[in-house]
Subunit: 179 residues, 2 copies
């Protein structure tokens, strides 16, 4: 029998899904104003758009279904799946109306990920993978495995997790680990 492959929990929003781009796109569509990416820097994501609009959008049907894929994520996750057992783990339970949308989004953009490897949860503390790639410090802090913090505006300045700025850096780091 083959040695069991190491497992990775990969987050959706802010990691394989470019949620902030969708906030900016929807806001421009609805209000005719182009918010710069810098507006999300150094503060909670919910404060990136004026007037609580982020909160309103995440509760709007269709928002999560229309999020673009993060640059480089499709190819990188496929490459990682050769060496690692990949789990997509999204803390989606706060927005239960998004669950089916997120499932459909994964089927469209990551069809090679089996439904067996998808997890929707609230709190990630009981996820027992060897690695976790996430943008939220609250998820990484409770992870028992090795953590990779995917750069996002809200985690600027955090330095107690290994930072990765893009999918190329993820691949470079994990290739070393899997040798």
């Amino acid at each position: 029998m083959d040695k069991k492959r190491p497992t990775i929990a990969i987050d959706m929003d802010g990691v394989i899904a470019d949620t902030v781009s969708n906030f900016i796109q929807w806001y421009e569509r609805d209000y005719g104003v182009r918010v710069e990416l810098e507006a999300f820097e150094g503060k909670p994501e919910a404060e990136g758009l004026p007037d609580n609009t982020v909160r309103r959008y995440v509760l709007t049907p269709g928002f999560f279904r229309s999020v673009p894929v993060m640059e480089g994520a499709k190819e990188a996750v496929l490459e990682l799946s050769e060496k690692f057992e990949i789990y997509i783990v999204s803390a989606a339970m706060e927005f239960p109306q998004s669950l089916f949308e997120k499932y459909e989004w994964l089927r469209e953009h990551f069809p090679y990920i089996s439904w067996k490897n998808i997890i929707f949860c609230g709190d990630k503390s009981i996820i027992g993978t060897d690695y976790m790639i996430d943008d939220h410090v609250r998820n990484l802090d409770v992870c028992k495995g090795k953590t990779l913090m995917f750069t996002a505006g809200h985690n600027a300045g955090v330095d107690h997790h290994k930072r990765v700025n893009n999918w190329k850096e993820v691949i470079a780091f994990l290739k070393e680990e899997a040798l």
Copy 2:
């Protein structure tokens, strides 16, 4: 700070949700025939009703929303939540249309369980709780913690997990453990 409480992953179908009763009720409603519980004994659950009807029902909108609560489950889970951190973990991803129904079902029948403690997944092997209560051997076999097998027709004859026949037996066993 308090010592961290032990964690339990509790399954939905066949454990807190009496799914087999709903199969029997729906079949009687649709075909006028009362199937006995014994029809589910000693075989995969999908073969409990004639003509692949189980498979059809689990894909029918409204099925999971209308499942009755397992006898004694509400009171028992509430009692356990005093000593344990409770997670509801359902391998629901095979039937993604059921995700929101299952969330609503939990809100109705177990309103004291926070959305933070709900997990919908495919394969339970990455769930890292101290205990797992489940009726399916495939889930218990990959659990790293202590396992409790809730009696169901399909697990008749299995004897490599601690068997519990009802919620009274769960409470009796776990009270000893948590002393």
